[in-house]
């Protein structure tokens, strides 16, 4: 039995991918649950408008983070700042009352704001000061329903799975069976092969996407108040990024097992660190940057924005641009590598080296 154990260790030390998983995964989980998994919100971006803005603003202490105080602006500015996501809370003051608008898509920020306001009201009442009537309106997600937040994110998850994991499996299967070589000799152009491999998954992912959105709307009542075309563009760009990832993974994997390992390493961090579950703004600043390189983060902002807030393109153009850039880079790289498989190359590394053998005596 000892011999078995020794053998297993020896094999393991040479299996880089499994080792990477063994090392990377615990570190990732540590980072996530140590630094990223926070629901508490320490700062709430806030804007205050209306004639009494200055006075009210004076009462707003941390956790409220006053981004702007503008007495000349009114409710419409407040709503547009909420819509574009630059603030979570917008206070609209007038001579006789205060209306606090909150962005219902930022669940934890809203909860923190509600708690802070209740605390302030208590303190004021205890202090005996006279306060104007304060009413709170939660926009976009009035019931603070978790499923309304999760489901738009889930759409991204589906696209991620299909795009990266399943596409790479499909291509690697061809490599494993040895048929890629044959395709290279048939009268196909490299583009025929690549697109032929990708298009089915593109179509399937799109169908899946529509299904999830429709089911979400019917079963959970998730609204879709925005522009379908905007959503479609965002979805397409994100899909191109994930498909490109899938092709890239397939070009460095020799078999399906390897491609699954690599795909997992791409997908799992995105599930945990892209803002799907834990808000990006709550993540410790040291690790927040990770979210900014994850494509899923940008798509979640697009899907939540369009579905719940009716975000116009003007609000999400940055996310669209980032996704477009990522798609260009990833797809470009993937195509370059894939073409090498299909075009004549004198630099194929061969698995069996040639060792001079002893001559029979």
């Amino acid at each position: 039995m000892w011999a078995m154990i020794v053998k297993e260790f020896r094999q393991l030390k040479r299996d880089r991918r499994t080792l990477a998983l063994l090392v990377v995964l615990p570190v990732l989980l540590l980072v996530v649950f140590g630094y990223a998994a926070r629901f508490d919100v320490s700062s709430i971006p806030t804007v205050v408008v209306g004639p009494e803005a200055a006075a009210v603003a004076g009462h707003l202490h941390p956790p409220f983070d006053l981004v702007d105080v503008d007495a000349a602006a009114g409710r419409s500015l407040a709503e547009s700042r909420l819509q574009d996501g630059s603030v979570a809370v917008a206070v609209v003051t007038s001579s006789d009352r205060v209306v606090v608008l909150m962005d219902g898509t930022q669940l934890f920020a809203v909860q923190a704001a509600q708690a802070a306001i209740a605390h302030m009201a208590q303190a004021a009442a205890a202090g005996g000061a006279a306060i104007p009537p304060v009413s709170v309106q939660i926009l976009y997600n009035p019931t603070l329903s978790t499923s309304w937040i999760m489901i738009p994110g889930l759409t991204g998850l589906i696209l991620l799975f299909i795009g990266t994991l399943i596409t790479s499996l499909g291509i690697v299967r061809e490599r494993q069976a040895g048929t890629i070589e044959q395709l290279a000799v048939m009268p196909f152009r490299p583009w025929d092969v690549i697109l032929g491999k990708i298009v089915p998954y593109l179509l399937l992912a799109s169908l899946d996407l529509i299904a999830i959105v429709v089911i979400g709307m019917l079963l959970f009542g998730v609204p879709f108040v925005g522009n379908v075309a905007t959503f479609a563009i965002g979805a397409l760009l994100f899909l191109l990024v994930t498909l490109g990832m899938g092709v890239l993974v397939s070009t460095v994997s020799q078999n399906q097992g390897q491609s699954i390992q690599l795909a997992i390493m791409f997908v799992v961090p995105q599930i945990l660190l892209s803002g799907l579950i834990f808000p990006v703004s709550s993540m410790a600043s040291g690790v927040q940057w990770i979210a900014y390189i994850l494509p899923l983060k940008y798509f979640i902002e697009i899907s939540r924005g369009v579905m719940l807030k009716a975000s116009p393109i003007g609000d999400i153009w940055v996310q669209l641009l980032v996704l477009a850039g990522m798609a260009a880079i990833v797809l470009g790289l993937a195509m370059l590598r894939f073409r090498r498989d299909l075009a004549p190359s004198a630099r194929h590394a061969r698995a069996s080296g040639v060792t001079p053998e002893a001559v029979p005596s």
């Binding site: 070589e181 048939m186 004549p344 029979p360």
Partner: protein, 279 residues
């Protein structure tokens, strides 16, 4: 305008996979490349069809649509049915509709799969898979057919049937180039190229190679290993004397093709040793 390789060499970095090989692919002939694992057979065929670029030398081949290629691994899709495999191959080469079904039916009859059209590729036996793969490559009647180890691992009966299929293609005018590790298959060829570590150590028809054996061959019928360059054959030893002086106890023997192959390999090793020392 003949196809083939002329003084072709392929180097992968510092490793020479093919060393000045000349092979002609002529219509109605079968050319066979024989060698063990790592000898360079696959590289030779891949250079011929254009999957690998030559470092030096010339490769001549017809257009992609005029080549039929079956790589060393199956060459068909395990999760498609026999019919679907043929449809894919046909479609790739522009065969459709009535012509495709006619040609498919013809080939399936020859292969013996006429009644198994809806069986999955992966469910066929090894021999049947190979026959289907060769059939797929022949669907569009390519002028040049290139097969990488078509019969490795296949049972002898399927092997004979495969060669019948291949011979049929040659009879119809196809230029066939095949690679194999089985020396006894080389008999089927009009031209043989024997490869060892990328070098062609014997070239010609089987009878030319057999007749061209240098030195003398002898057989020793005892269990003791004779002096000199020798190898076992069943319970006896074969011994080769390059200088024609057979050791004591050895009866002279007329070399057969297998012996010629062995002797060519031994001569090559001796030569490489000399060359290495000179370097």
């Amino acid at each position: 305008m003949t196809w083939g390789l002329e003084d072709a060499s392929v180097a992968f970095g510092s490793r020479v996979a093919l060393d000045h090989v000349t092979l002609r692919a002529e219509p109605s002939t079968v050319a066979i490349v024989v060698g063990g694992d790592g000898a360079g057979k696959s590289t030779l065929l891949r250079a011929l069809v254009g999957l690998v670029r030559l470092t030096t030398g010339v490769a001549r081949r017809p257009a992609k649509a005029d080549i039929g290629y079956v790589p060393a691994t199956a060459g068909l899709y395990a999760d498609l049915t026999v019919d679907e495999n043929l449809a894919f191959s046909g479609g790739a080469y522009g065969l459709r509709g009535a012509e495709l079904s006619r040609r498919s039916a013809q080939l399936l009859e020859r292969i013996g799969l006429g009644s198994a059209r809806s069986r999955l590729g992966g469910q066929l036996s090894g021999g049947m898979q190979r026959k289907l793969a060769v059939g797929m490559a022949l669907l569009h009647r390519p002028p040049m057919l290139v097969l990488d180890e078509p019969t490795t691992g296949v049972d002898p009966v399927s092997r004979a049937e495969l060669w019948r299929l291949i011979a049929g293609a040659a009879a119809e005018g196809t230029a066939v180039v095949a690679a194999t590790t089985y020396v006894d298959e080389a008999h089927r060829a009009a031209t043989v190229v024997l490869l060892e570590q990328g070098r062609p150590i014997a070239v010609g028809s089987p009878s030319e190679i057999t007749a061209g054996v240098p030195g003398a061959l002898g057989v020793v019928r005892s269990a003791a290993q004779p002096a000199g360059l020798s190898w076992r054959w069943g319970a006896t030893w074969r011994v080769w004397a390059p200088s024609r002086d057979l050791p004591a106890g050895a009866e002279p023997l007329r070399p057969g093709f297998d012996d010629a192959v062995m002797i060519a390999a031994l001569a090559d090793v001796a030569k490489e040793r000399v060359d290495a020392r000179a370097r």
